[in-house]
Symmetry: D2
């Protein structure tokens, strides 16, 4: 349940205020240059505390590789990576330990497990995504050899599509003791045709699972997504043409680069809907673990909008999915 992927396979662990967060990537081929430095840019983009828009909690997020690298390269053995938690003021959470925060996993974890690590959400915290970003960095490094790259952008915040207004919108929500969500897009460039597997190994299915497994994501689209449900087939189909050298091209990319679950060679386009941060200063109605009605304010060191940070995680997740399917393609290539 904490493992993702079949070929480029990784297992994450760690809680928001535990000793460390980490990931073990089992299934990276040998010979790929990789070091802690390769993770820093992605971790920096993900980490909080960098702008007035995000939480003031400042983790330094120094990754340490524990295994699987020898003389600067992957060996084919599992690559274990951890980030120690430092700024873990768990005392902050004592007061709320008996309250179920609306929009969080407090209630469901308690119902399921009987026990829960109430410090900052424990395992259900967004901090868990540090592990994914480390795995994603390795996937990206591997895929860079093949010419595949990833980029992301924010499409809208709180329904507003003008990037110049995003910061104002977020600060305005924050000052009102509230929060906002938004929509982000990840694009995979340079992916050749033939990546992905049929039926339950479909690239779009794997990407959807990957994205929806990120906390706060409530919707996923591939290509035109929900818009494709509103047009004619003649508009939605991507026609094909051959150039003078016999190279096949798609004349449009409504499919988002995936047909039948397998990449077409065009850009792969994924969009995600991110809900507003559930932690807000405004008072909300809730119950405690004894069944009493209570009021709660969960403001504090929380991002009023996690869309900017989540786009990095979404890129990382896209990378591990593509890496996984890429290795599958090697395994099942036609003989001879």
């Amino acid at each position: 349940m904490n493992t993702f992927g079949r070929f480029f396979r990784f297992t994450t662990f760690g809680e928001s205020h535990g000793r460390a967060l980490g990931v073990v990537v089992d299934g990276c081929p040998p010979g790929i240059e990789f070091s802690e430095a390769d993770m820093i840019p992605l971790l920096e983009r993900r980490r909080p505390g960098l702008s007035p828009l995000s939480t003031p909690r400042s983790e330094s997020d120094n990754p340490e590789i524990l295994s699987g690298i020898f003389e600067g390269k992957t060996t084919g053995m599992p690559v274990a990576m951890i980030v120690r938690n430092r700024d873990a003021r768990s005392g902050d959470y004592e007061s709320g330990k008996e309250l179920f925060r609306p929009g969080h996993a407090d209630y469901t974890y308690r119902e399921k497990y009987g026990i829960r690590d109430y410090r900052g959400g424990g395992r259900s915290s967004g901090r868990e995504t540090v592990s994914r970003v480390m795995a994603g960095a390795l996937a990206m490094k591997m895929l860079s050899i093949t010419g595949i790259s990833f980029k992301s952008r924010i499409l809208s915040v709180h329904g507003i599509s003008d990037p110049g207004l995003f910061e104002d919108e977020i600060l305005s929500a924050k000052s009102a003791g509230d929060s906002v969500g938004g929509v982000a897009e990840v694009t995979v460039k340079g992916c050749p045709a033939g990546v992905g597997d049929p039926v339950f190994g479909r690239l779009d299915a794997a990407l959807s699972a990957a994205m929806m497994s990120v906390g706060a994501v409530k919707g996923v689209e591939i290509g035109d997504g929900f818009s494709s449900a509103e047009v004619f087939g003649s508009e939605n189909n991507d026609s094909m043409a051959s150039d003078e050298y016999g190279n096949v091209k798609f004349l449009s990319n409504h499919s988002g680069g995936i047909l039948g679950g397998i990449s077409t060679g065009e850009d792969i386009v994924i969009r995600i809907a991110v809900k507003p941060t559930p932690s807000i200063s405004s008072e909300q109605q809730t119950v405690d673990i004894h069944g009493n009605n209570r009021l709660i304010s969960t403001g504090g060191r929380h991002d009023p909008c996690i869309v900017p940070r989540i786009t990095v995680v979404a890129e990382a997740m896209a990378a591990v999915v593509i890496a996984d399917s890429y290795l599958s393609m090697r395994a099942y290539a036609p003989f001879e």
Copy 2:
């Protein structure tokens, strides 16, 4: 790649015009009454040829259980089920065997495998979903013991939300040699809190993968989905309250019954975007396997809108996901 689930786990096989389609469910507990009759209603709802809106191809879809049932009950052994293909006029496909149909998986399969079963899409055909429906029927039967049930409805067709207009919209597209898509919704009722696992075993992630693995699905939402990205946190959070007996209730269900990947006890709500059927009579530009530019018309025995039939498949997929997580919950229940 043709296996879904970890606990209630099934593997599907079969091509559109091969000998049979089938599924092996490995992971159904013993003692559940199940027979071919339990599959008929779902298979009938899924199958083509029942209305002017769907394809005239009429498969009888008579399921046969090959194993795993003894004296009318599951034994805990794998339940293999098949449906033989009968109305398989593969001759119909000879003429198009060298053409890549736009919007279909023809090109990607060919690129990936070098070989493809061109008869009606082979494995990438919607006919593959017969296997899923059989697995779903068993999952539903198992879950019915626990009081969990499934229902679905069409929310819109070609952007139109009035059910009274759906048929007209579809027939109008058909007569224009075109096709339309739509949006459908599946609701899971009676699911207790605590179903689903954290991180990559999240119920919403599994449901997304399940839905997106169905051909023609291009978007998935849980609860308010993309709409949740446009509201404030104070609007999107579901407050909780306790009644006089200490029973906890959510005062709204924007989350769609899932928090932190685990069920809350409220209805689980999933929506899918279905693209227009790619097979249309209108001519489209394409290429053949030799790289020549060609025109193609892929009309014929195809549904102008597969939303009605796909809702059944979506219900079935929701059922297998819930069944899977339900068994996981039993495995990992607290000791004593």
Copy 3:
């Protein structure tokens, strides 16, 4: 639990007296020529009724391929294969349905599942191995392209190592209303160095699981096996030498072709211990499902020695293990 392998992965189903036995192989690369005829020789060697030494029950074991083959070749899609049961006189088993046969799985299945298919052992019958043989035939076909082949032989029967005495030994046990076991050996020839994965994907671990998963197998050895525990390291180590062309050779093969779980390039040698058939005519003490002490005689249509038939199954299992690791080797080959 009914699935084996990660890359060349298959799921078996079916009971001794159910409608059919079958297997779905998910993970065979495209382009491999395969038909029912490729399974016949192996199925014939496995099947009962061919000699006075084996059970008179005569199944014809006509395999049918339901999917995954198009124009005589694998397509990369799941290959489903079944054999219908014909000579299923389940009436024969009515009398013993409440008795637990010593040495059989009757008691354990009943304890575990509460329900059991008592007809000929149901799922726990040796007849289940028909599915494995079909999967093995496909694995062998795939591996034959790479020059890998399989052979097996009986090393001893009832402790006797002279092949000329095997038949007498078996007939003598049979006439005494008893049964005997033996030891068999499988050799994999032509396997290059580098097949197998470290730690839990070790080739020897996978081969052991494969062999021990066959009913009646109680011991497995790789290379010198238990004998290696009785010699000095200097005797057991296989020295290496390089010939004039720089080709590395092992000067002995005590390791059985596997070091660190990975093939060395030498013959891979596996030995299995097969217990005597538990079904015997002599009376034995047992209990019934109501807890009453009873006497039982389980003679009838049963092999007095299954070693000859089980060697075929062992070959098939060796083939699926090698096929699995071979595909893994392709997936994780060094980049560039």
Copy 4:
């Protein structure tokens, strides 16, 4: 490939002379008391340097739990555990970095990966088993709640069965610059009937894979193992009887507590053959990575017999297998 188990599932990582060895256990139910102290006894029994019989290298093996424990109990989240390497004089290995040590995985790793961590065997070192022992300690703690326990003993060393002679035999080999192997036995006590799954989830198959995945193990037996191949069915079958209260008992345990892959309720008995330590002081013939013939002496800080230490690892592996099947039993228990 570095993951074991389906329900009680763990992934190991780390090299002999890397930064740390570790394991992530994903699939331990919540509520089980567990701390570093629970691992110490097992780690102490496994670790080298404690007697004249084992290697003088003295790792302190201080385990650290990084996640999954809150307020002294498991939370249901992944339990990550590491042991840092301290006494890692990798300089010792510089001289031999181009030589393939006979009996080791040096050649096969090099052939497979092109790159290998030559420091003390890297991932193929016996030091890897530290991770297994940590996972085993958690499995044992969980199973202790159900009354299941594990014990092990050495049956023979270098073919000698008198425990009073083991030490002499080992020291004698050591002084001759040589090494010896032996046979060990693990017994599982208190395991109820019904643990284990049919076909490929068989308890005996899983135990065999678990044991054979330990470096130096070359053979596995369940119950009477190879001896059962030499007796009559009437001798090998375990008769059953019911006592005055209707409790079923087996009158012997030749099967080693497993029938049809499922536990009978009797002691589960597993035996393993351990080859002599391949590292010996005596000179052996080998080749280097350039294909030159060379002589090698691999003595030094190595156990002349690893049987005593490997029994601990075998206990740990037995524990994880039983834990895995135990959780499976909970998942698939009959409904109601």
